[in-house]
């Protein structure tokens, strides 16, 4: 829609006879409504039968936005959760952008609810007001006397199903600032009874994920990729592949990063790829091993940092530590980690009879592949369409700055005559070995404590592989050379710590690195929280009381952080574990939310540790769907703890050593016996929930293990003499 087209003009042009009401905002950000979705940005559509559909601009990888954003619409409109369905929005960076990302549609940084909170409620409220005005006009009553409840418009006397006024409502202009329902009126937001809208289809096999796309006459392609990053195809021999029934052809990617195998079905593609022989040019490829990468990081920690992150005089801080009564010092190392979502990467691409390109994809950042496809296919944006599928997890992997797997599929398709759709499938080995890892990172910390046992100074050095530098996202995250995603959780930590100096040095990337559930907080929270415990122990203080001393008297963030710490300690029986058990605690703010966790364990490192219980307290502002919040905390704890226990990606001569779940072992059901989550009641706007449960989980476990006299400063724990039952 033209930016110059006025809302009035646009509404006039909308066909009044179509019995569907769409409400949203137009590309100028103004409220808009009408009956033609092609001209609008609808967040809710209602037909004259009263069917209400929320249009979800975020993808659903299990973290709950389909339910959450539908909740906002249902609440404001006045329907129950049984009366609303959802559809995923098409790819359109102007209409469906993430309000925190600029003109870019995408899900990440635990922003789905936070950026949609006002937008979706406003859309629902506008739909309600338009329907009410239509009804009031028809009934000849004051619209202030009308409301919609459970899908019924009523003034207390007359009633009508909301579908009855859909046609009339399309003629009513939406308001710039519709009345949002007061919290006291809420029937769904914050209520326990709400169940997920995607639950039924995920228990009966009906849910369609990207992997489940079957287009008529499609080919399945798999790619034999370079075993070391930077390797190039010299030649290949497909004589073995030709013996496989169902093999169609093999072609080298134009990037020379791999050979595409085209086949009639998935099993044939797997067999044919296994039979393919490729000669690689490895002269420019990554050849380092993990031990060398670790050494580079440690060397960087031994030198002066390149960046002074918080501009505190580092020499002054160092001298305060040198003269402190007690000094606690530790060096930490975090390995590369794969995301390993349950559904291996895939997408399917087809060309319509009109020459448009359609991508079927669990698209985390649709704008990325959309822009890439404009280049690959030399087509304008409007000739490219992305159908967002349900997604079997991501943890960050499905959003890469270079749209890696979608570009692979695009290149595989563009090398054909386009008469047959192409479905790209990765297997688990591709996933584990296919790059894009949580960066390997080292920290070196010295904490000086005075004679009274208080922190006098804190010197903190980080050496890591920048995620953002050299990508399209650099300007979002990198300022004065500092990639914030490497030091988040340190520089912006709500603790009020005197004389804290933070230094950073970037090292060369061992392989492609990427945000991984909670990004920099995966390591910064670990180091902060383990150091807090080490410092408390060094001066004989209780870890909870010690932390509170650096939160009380702080700002609102510090108070919220202190509150979750106290709540977790109370609910987790801090200080009173069951007989034979020990406890550890950690607290962290990330993505606007505050989470504290108490981990209680039994056993010994030698005979095996059992995680008996994790007690979490979370403040994420208004918990729109409390049970989804709890589920996310449970999952985030499992994700953080599982990897800390026993997972790492290692390189041998540049090649990834792990390949599948047997050597990249997922958390299993018996690893954590119980998780209990407590939600802080809040009137603050909602903040993140997909990630914030992860950062405190591993350090809380480490602090529990430290009660058995082993401080784990390098992960995974299984490599440091810790066994688990």
């Amino acid at each position: 829609m033209s930016k110059n087209l006025s809302r009035r003009g646009f509404l006039k042009s909308a066909a009044a006879t179509t019995a569907v009401l769409y409400v949203g905002v137009n590309p100028d950000g103004a409220a808009a409504a009408g009956s033609n979705d092609a001209m609008l940005n609808p967040f809710v559509k209602i037909d004259s039968d009263g069917n209400v559909i929320a249009i979800i601009k975020h993808f659903e990888k299990g973290q709950g936005p389909a339910t959450g954003l539908s909740t906002l619409i249902a609440e404001e409109l006045g329907v129950t959760m049984d009366q609303i369905g959802f559809e995923f929005a098409p790819s359109n960076p102007k209409l469906y952008n993430n309000l925190f990302f600029g003109p870019f549609q995408g899900t990440g940084g635990s922003t789905a609810m936070a950026n949609s909170w006002t937008q979706y409620r406003t859309a629902g409220a506008n739909a309600r007001e338009m329907l009410i005005k239509a009804a009031a006009s028809s009934w000849g009553v004051d619209d202030a006397t009308l409301d919609i409840q459970e899908g019924i418009i009523t003034d207390g006397v007359k009633t009508a199903p909301l579908g009855d006024f859909v046609v009339a409502a399309t003629q009513i202009a939406p308001s710039e600032a519709p009345r949002l329902r007061d919290a006291s009126e809420w029937k769904i937001i914050g209520k326990e009874a709400t169940r997920r809208l995607d639950s039924l289809i995920k228990v009966n096999g009906e849910a369609k994920f990207g992997m489940d796309v079957h287009l008529p006459n499609q080919m399945v392609v798999m790619i034999k990729r370079t075993p070391q990053r930077g390797g190039l195809v010299v030649s290949f021999d497909d004589s073995g592949a030709k013996e496989v029934k169902g093999f169609i052809m093999a072609k080298s990617l134009p990037t020379q990063h791999g050979v595409v195998v085209y086949a009639e079905n998935t099993w044939a593609a797997m067999q044919a790829r296994a039979a393919l022989k490729v000669e690689w040019d490895m002269s420019e490829a990554e050849a380092r091993s993990s031990s060398e990468i670790r050494e580079e990081l440690m060397d960087a920690l031994g030198a002066n940092p390149v960046y002074n992150v918080n501009k505190v005089d580092q020499k002054t801080v160092a001298s305060k530590i040198d003269t402190a009564a007690t000094v606690v010092e530790r060096t930490f190392y975090f390995p590369l980690l794969a995301h390993a979502p349950m559904e291996p990467l895939n997408c399917t691409i087809e060309q319509t009879s009109g020459g448009d390109i359609v991508l079927h994809d669990g698209a985390q950042m649709p704008t990325g592949p959309h822009m890439a496809y404009q280049q690959i296919f030399q087509l304008p944006q409007e000739k490219i369409h992305i159908k967002t599928m349900l997604t079997g997890g991501s943890f960050g992997r499905r959003a890469t700055p270079d749209a890696d797997y979608q570009v692979e599929a695009g290149l595989a398709f563009v090398m054909t005559d386009r008469s047959r759709p192409v479905k790209l499938v990765w297997d688990r080995e591709d996933d584990i070995r296919g790059g894009y890892y949580r960066p390997a990172t080292g920290h070196k910390v010295r904490v000086g404590l005075d004679a009274d046992g208080n922190i006098a100074a804190w010197e903190h050095q980080v050496a890591g592989q920048s995620i953002m530098k050299g990508t399209a996202f650099e300007s979002f995250s990198v300022h004065d050379g500092v990639d914030h995603s490497t030091v988040e959780g340190l520089a912006d930590n709500p603790y009020v710590i005197p004389n804290m100096a933070i230094g950073l040095t970037d090292t060369e990337k061992a392989t492609s690195v990427l945000w991984w559930r909670s990004v920099g907080h995966t390591h910064t929270a670990y180091v902060m929280e383990v150091m807090m415990d080490m410092a408390a122990k060094a001066v004989g203080r209780d870890p909870v009381a010690f932390r509170l001393a650096y939160l009380e008297g702080g700002d609102k963030d510090a108070r919220r952080k202190a509150d979750v710490l106290k709540l977790a300690a109370e609910k987790g029986n801090w200080g009173s574990p069951a007989d034979g058990n020990v406890q550890g605690i950690a607290v962290h703010k990330s993505f606007g939310s505050f989470v504290a966790e108490v981990v209680e364990i039994s056993g010994t490192p030698a005979d095996g540790i059992q995680i008996e219980k994790v007690t979490a307290a979370v403040d994420c502002g208004i918990a729109v769907n409390p049970d989804v919040v709890r589920a996310q905390i449970e999952g985030a704890i499992g994700y953080g703890i599982g990897h800390a226990m026993r997972d790492q990606i290692t390189l041998d001569g540049g090649a990834v050593e792990q390949s599948n779940f047997p050597d990249y072992e997922p958390l299993r059901i018996s690893d954590i016996k119980a998780i209990e989550t407590h939600i802080v009641a809040s009137a603050e706007p909602p903040t993140g929930i997909g990630e914030p449960g992860t950062p405190p989980s591993a350090p809380a476990l480490a602090n529990a293990i430290a009660q058995l006299d082993i401080w784990v400063a390098e992960l995974p724990m299984s490599d440091r003499g810790i066994s688990f039952v």
Partner: protein
């Protein structure tokens, strides 16, 4: 070659080469996509189906080895008492997150409850160990199996 298979109560004649895993026949030939591909090495359980009522990893079951067997997939689970109870429990507790592993989880849970109608939490953990969930919905999977046992007892 063409092979007859007995799946969800119907005989289907499918085209597949010997050595083809049952998983790919179910997904690519019969286009029943509730059964998932997760690892291909029997390490995650996403591909679990029932063969003669027993949970089996379909990624490691060759098509030529299921001749004469009754194969059941998630799409048919609501039609038996135990399957329906597990699905009901899963919905009451909102077990699912991404949902990709949940067909396999449910197929295993049904297998457990058919074998042991009153399992303890420890027995659930032992039986369900091989079903991975990267979203880590395990607390609810455990609670879901225990809840399904209650539903069946009632």
């Amino acid at each position: 070659m063409t092979i007859p298979i007995n799946l969800n109560g119907q005989i289907h004649t499918v085209k597949a080469e010997p050595g083809t895993p049952l998983l790919w026949v179910i997904r690519d030939e019969l286009k029943l996509t509730g059964t998932k591909f997760g690892c291909g090495v029997a390490s995650c359980g996403a591909c679990t189906v029932h063969i003669n009522g027993e949970p089996v990893r379909s990624c490691q079951t060759l098509i030529e080895d299921v001749d004469g067997a009754e194969i059941t997939t998630i799409e048919k689970m609501s039609e038996n008492e135990v399957g329906a109870a597990v699905q009901q429990a899963w919905r009451e507790l909102d077990v699912v997150q991404c949902g990709y592993c949940q067909s396999g989880q449910i197929m295993s849970a049904v297998g457990l409850l058919r074998e042991n109608d009153k399992p303890t939490a420890e027995e659930v953990d032992e039986y369900m160990y091989g079903n991975a969930c990267r979203c880590a919905t395990y607390q609810r999977i455990r609670a879901g199996v225990l809840r399904a046992a209650e539903i069946l007892e009632a």
